[in-house]
């Protein structure tokens, strides 16, 4: 009985929520937004150094958001490796020896690497960029990992940590150098906007792939042992 009551209440809450959301969206859709941000964006696209509005927003106009978001990814990577030990990287039980997978790998991995490179480059004038390219790169890494290709750099050593932080560090360095040159934090010097964005995008691709891959590889095992304060372990 109480279970039924609980479900009814939950359903009622969901219905009210969905109803209120619908009404609000409906009313908002009927009005014209007083600020024309897309128009403003189009007017300033010239100065942004790239031709695609999304890349311009992510890497130039709102680059501070992107910088912090990359920070969030690095945190996720750190939290992941902080509670895992990857001794099982060579665990034979985790290896698949599927001939179909091997065949697929031979075809797919080079293709996916090329695709990642293309997506990265495409970001300058059409949908694409570091996040998409990084995801594809990570996916090919996952595939290689499943096929048992040894990837020593994924052990929680200095290489992994360097890889996690590389993109973020370069981005941050650019930000602070521009501040020291007399402008605001993250204001790229006019002459170097495009090359700087390209460099940042490239290292970001690498680091994003690294974070995703590290989370995949090092997530499942927990070898950490730490009793709660005041309790003998």
């Amino acid at each position: 009985m109480s279970r039924f009551l609980g479900i009814t209440v939950l359903a009622a809450v969901c219905l009210v929520f969905a109803g209120a959301l619908m009404i609000t969206v409906w009313q908002i859709a009927g009005t014209q937004a007083p600020v024309d941000l897309p128009g403003l964006l189009a007017d300033n696209l010239e100065a942004s150094g790239v031709e695609h509005p999304i890349t311009a927003v992510l890497l130039n106009f709102r680059s501070y958001d992107t910088l912090l978001e990359i920070g969030v990814l690095v945190i996720a990577g750190i939290a992941g490796i902080s509670m895992a030990n990857t001794a099982s990287l060579e665990d034979p039980e985790l290896r698949t020896s599927d001939s179909l997978l091997y065949a697929l790998q031979r075809w797919f991995v080079p293709l996916m690497l090329v695709l990642a490179g293309y997506l990265l480059w495409a970001g300058s004038d059409r949908p694409g960029g570091a996040f998409q390219a990084g995801a594809v790169l990570a996916a090919s890494g996952v595939m290689m990992r499943l096929g048992g290709i040894p990837m020593e750099f994924l052990r929680p050593g200095v290489l992994l940590r360097l890889g996690l932080a590389l993109g973020f560090s370069v981005f941050l360095l650019v930000a602070v150098v521009s501040a020291m040159a007399g402008d605001a934090f993250l204001a790229y010097p006019d002459a170097f906007t495009k090359p700087l964005i390209l460099i940042i995008e490239t290292v970001l691709t690498f680091s994003i792939a690294m974070v995703l891959l590290a989370l995949f590889v090092s997530a499942p095992v927990n070898g950490a042992e730490e009793p709660e304060e005041g309790e003998s372990g």
């Binding site: 690095v74 902080s82 007399g182 709660e228």
Partner: protein
């Protein structure tokens, strides 16, 4: 000069996060000490600059809002930046001695600590709704990582629960932001406020504001959404608990308060304000009662946070539909409450960590006899408790006094009962800890003595919380400084 200070403020925590990621715990400790010194100096410098010249807008990347992101560097923001610098430096210093450098996972403490600091600064300064969301994410994920650090099943369970609550809160907030953006076409909080007050835009919707407040209340652990807080704050290492209770929950509250003060007048209503106030009151009573009932020392402190957070939400009824003067009084009271609770609760958790370390057990009744062996830490715990109870001359007293005046002046006398009952109940749970520590009849005479600096840090924080009531006037005057250039 201020441009350099701003760059330093934004750059240092992020850069130190990367630096400490590269080295082990011991080296990270040295690097962190340097970074903390830099960060405290920069925060002090910025505070002094704003105190003498007034606040300003900082354009990131040189782009103006609504196209770019503006940071709003005003008196309130720099006060919180300075508070964060002091409390985080104290917690970091404590952690550098308290945590065992031999445990391999403690090396990840420093990068998470620095990312947390960066996120907090991002939230205090943020003037852009989406940027505030990113700041919240930075804080939440770093905090969850710190709770889970090297933990066993219980810690992981608490961390996952915390993560789920934090993500749900963030999503509700983000949905509200999306709706606001859909309606006004801008993400700048100042821009939205201006459009709403100018009156030529169609009047706003209440639902997005409710959604955002709901999400932020969940992240701040407002009753009855507080279930995730005590396990997470109780099971984390003491310096982490101190950071979480003192600063992290304040970040989401700060955003909620700014939304309310900017948009609440138009979009809010009497019923909504009263409802939030009632939930805050229930949090005070229920949280204090549960704190009184806990058997573990850190759970007592954690439930006390639930209660103290309740006071903050009295801001909502006390600033809606009242005169400017009363609203200002309530805002000042709440700000003092945030600062004094941050200092007192950090002191309390750090002292609790010392006590637990000393007696080797986390239970309240295991404290028997500790008053003789660790009087200093116990004294810090008590001093912090005095501030939580709201006895003069503490910051807690000044805060509650202002709130009392605001509720009387606005005719909302019913909050008076809550303020008084809350003080009495917090006295009850603080004295319970004291009573346990003065019992002498045990056969335990094995006490570990923590190092001197571990004991000094909570004492400094507790004294600052105590002294806040005496310097409330100058502190408050910086917060209400006018904004340079009349942006707001």
């Amino acid at each position: 000069m201020t441009l350099w200070l701003m760059a330093g403020l934004l750059f240092t925590p992020l850069a130190w996060a990367v630096l400490t990621l590269m080295v082990d715990f011991r080296k990270g400790r040295l690097v962190t000490w340097l970074g903390m010194a830099v960060q405290v100096l920069v925060s002090l410098g910025l505070w002094a600059a704003v105190a003498s010249d007034g606040g300003f807008l900082y354009l990131l990347g040189g782009w103006q809002a609504p196209l770019g992101i503006e940071l709003r560097v005003d008196g309130l923001a720099v006060t919180f930046v300075l508070l964060t610098a002091l409390v985080a430096a104290a917690c970091g210093w404590h952690a550098s001695i308290y945590l065992d450098p031999g445990k391999p996972w403690h090396r990840y403490f420093w990068p998470l600590f620095w990312f947390l600091w960066a996120g907090l600064n991002a939230v205090w300064l943020g003037g852009d709704l989406f940027n505030l969301y990113v700041g919240l994410e930075l804080i939440s994920l770093a905090a969850v990582g710190l709770v889970a650090l090297g933990g066993q099943a219980d810690a992981l369970r608490a961390a996952i629960r915390y993560l789920m609550a934090a993500l749900l809160g963030s999503l509700a907030y983000l949905l509200g932001v999306a709706l606001i953006y859909g309606q006004f076409g801008t993400l700048s909080l100042a821009g939205v406020t201006e459009l709403m007050n100018s009156g030529d835009a169609q009047s706003g919707q209440t639902f997005p504001l409710v959604l955002m407040l709901l999400g932020l209340a969940l992240k701040t652990a407002l009753f009855p959404m507080h279930g995730w807080l005590p396990p997470a704050h109780g099971i984390a290492k003491s310096p982490v608990s101190a950071l979480l209770s003192a600063l992290v929950v304040k970040a989401s509250f700060y955003i909620a308060a700014r939304l309310w003060l900017d948009l609440g007048g138009e979009l809010g209503g009497f019923a909504l304000a009263q409802l939030i106030g009632v939930l805050g009151s229930l949090a005070i009573i229920w949280g204090s009662w549960l704190a009184f009932r806990q058997t573990k020392l850190k759970q007592v402190v954690a439930y006390s946070s639930v209660a103290q957070i309740g006071y903050l939400f009295l801001l909502f009824p006390l600033t809606w539909g009242v005169t400017e003067a009363i609203s200002l009084q309530a805002q000042q009271g709440i700000t003092l409450q945030v600062i004094s609770h941050a200092l007192a609760k950090a002191a309390m958790f750090l002292a609790a960590g010392n006590l637990i370390m000393s007696v080797g057990s986390n239970r309240v009744d295991a404290l028997a006899g500790v008053s003789r062996f660790l009087p200093f830490s116990l004294f810090s715990f008590g001093l912090a408790g005095v501030s939580l109870m709201g006895l003069p001359p503490t910051g807690g007293f000044a805060a509650k006094w202002l709130l009392l005046q605001a509720s009387l002046a606005s005719g909302q006398w019913w909050w008076l009962a809550v303020l008084l009952a809350g003080g009495l109940l917090s006295a009850a749970y603080v004295f319970r800890v004291y009573r346990a520590s003065f019992i002498e009849s045990t056969d335990t005479d094995q006490f570990y003595h923590p190092s001197r600096s571990l004991e000094v840090i909570p004492m400094i924080l507790a004294l600052m919380s105590l002294g806040l009531g005496l310097v409330a006037e100058p502190v408050l005057s910086v917060m209400s400084l006018p904004f340079e250039g009349g942006g707001q």
